[in-house]
């Protein structure tokens, strides 16, 4: 059972990060390949706070706030830049973030990573095993999903859609595009930070490789295959993509090839999705 639970926990954590990416990429149309870096900021912030003795809930809150601010700061230049240029900035953000995770040894433990992150504990109850942690990750995913849903339903959500469709028309109607974008990058950052904090608390070990550019691309693949702008898509995507490695173990492949084949399948899924099913499994097209 623990194995099944630990699979669900990881999928739920990535679903939270996928929702964060979906909000930015699917809803507002800000394409970022730095979501893993933001998730990493949350994870490291949580690890440092938890190691300093801060209880789970405030540490989680701190992680979300830090990730939100970092996301906002790195998104700022993008608010002025058109599509392709921001992609490059976000590539840069991701690489610089990885460099910081590796080189800012005092906080991050450097390339060796941070082992022994304390177990999550709420009101004296410890959540040690996957089965126990499932409670936390499910509640967190539920809250994130609920807030994502109410956000999209609100007038603010409609504004975000409008910004994706035609930013100039929104500005011409007197809406504050910049403020809306800053707001959404804060929310999206907080989601990613929440995912990162849960990751750190559950795995209890983090290192720079856990949040590198391949993870960012994986999360984007999750959103594209699930489909943009819907909750179902952002939840389906992670479950499906994390299940692929488990399925691949059934194929008769030489072990050196399984890794590349898995990556190859991710790439093919991306191509197939953009050409034949731009709306993904349960969403709308980007």
């Amino acid at each position: 059972m623990n194995f099944l639970f630990s699979f669900i926990v990881l999928a739920e954590i990535f679903a939270i990060v996928a929702i964060s990416t979906n909000l930015l990429m699917g809803v507002v149309g800000i394409f970022s390949v730095a979501q893993a870096a933001i998730m990493g900021c949350g994870a490291y912030a949580y690890a440092v706070l938890a190691a300093a003795g801060v209880p789970f809930v405030p540490a989680m809150g701190g992680a979300m706030m830090i990730a939100a601010s970092v996301n906002m700061l790195t998104a700022l230049p993008s608010l002025r830049l058109a599509g392709d240029y921001f992609v490059i900035t976000s590539f840069g953000t991701q690489l610089v973030a990885t460099a910081v995770f590796i080189n800012w040894v005092v906080f991050t433990g450097g390339a060796a990573g941070l082992p022994g992150i304390p177990v999550a504990e709420i009101f004296g109850i410890s959540f040690v095993t996957a089965g126990e942690f499932l409670w936390i990750s499910s509640v967190a995913l539920g809250l994130v999903a609920l807030s994502f849903w109410s956000l999209l339903r609100s007038p603010y959500g409609k504004l975000l859609h409008a910004i994706r469709l035609d930013e100039i028309a929104v500005a011409a109607s007197g809406r504050k595009v910049l403020r809306a974008k800053i707001g959404v990058s804060l929310v999206s950052g907080a989601y990613a930070g929440c995912g990162g904090a849960l990751y750190a608390a559950y795995i209890s070990f983090i290192d720079p490789v856990s949040f590198d550019i391949h993870v960012s691309v994986l999360v984007i693949t999750m959103v594209v295959i699930g489909g943009a702008r819907t909750l179902a898509g952002s939840i389906l995507g992670p479950f499906l993509l994390l299940a692929i490695p488990q399925v691949l173990t059934l194929l008769e492949l030489s072990s050196t090839q399984v890794g590349p084949v898995r990556q190859l399948i991710y790439g093919l899924i991306l191509i197939v999705c953009v050409v034949w099913r731009p709306q993904g499994l349960a969403g709308r097209s980007l």
Binding site: P77, D84, Y85, V87, G92, L95, P260, L264, L270
Partner: protein, 293 residues
Amino acid sequence: MTMLFLHLVVDGIVTGCAIGLVAATFAYFYSTSGTFHVAHAGVYTFCGYVAWYCTTWGIPFVPSLLIAMGVGALLGVIIQGLLYARLAQIKASPLVMLIGSIGVLTVLQNLAAIFFTPNIIQFEFPWRIANVELGPIFLSVPQLLILILCPLLYVALLLFSSYTALGRQIRAVASNPELAQITHLRPRRMFIYAIAISSAMVAVPGVLVGIDQAMQPYTSLIILLTAVVAVIAGGIGSLTGAFFMSIALSTIQSVSVLLVSGRWSLAVVFVIFIVFILVRPEGLVKRKFSREL
């Protein structure tokens, strides 16, 4: 100290010439079709592996390089014909184009890993580590080849673009696709020519850098990133800007180890990029005025 400086500058220029051709070919296709062709990095890697594979069958260097260039052109045509053209047909947004391109990049890198090997490999040429002495400077033979071939190809691309009929037709499509359509230039065919040319050319630094150093499937993205920064900083659409900005960036990156620890050298490139964005945002963002050669 001055010797060290000189050596670092030379190293930067050699690396810059290789990246410069990547940047110039990327800029060429980008300004022609408007597609942000990230998979260019995949073609770069894959061609290197193709040449390596040829040499393991005993094929000499020059034919191997030519085969790699041919495979590169073919890959480019396949990518344009099967993916980009199709996406353009369904009026996909640039974002979707980019995601598709990332997909192709992932596929190419991993095909290289599956067909050939996921490990770091080296060419088996005996002349690979031979040195050439030019006064106080030592260059390996592959470095010398990079220093000669890449600028030559860049000049060839420039000449082709300005002085041949086909080159001019491609430029006409680039500056105004709608008009070109009316005048029967068939932009889609021109895009295929453009991607074939740039993909064949990008095979050259792919192979030469592989011979000079080593090859692995997953690192070309960093090279493309530096190239794209050079394309943007050099002014979108300007081949000359892309090529010389690459050399400038590589030289700065190489010389920067004198002042800062090498672990920040990548960050140096991005700081330059951010500065360019801040100083010249209009020139960089308003593509409509500059999407021409």
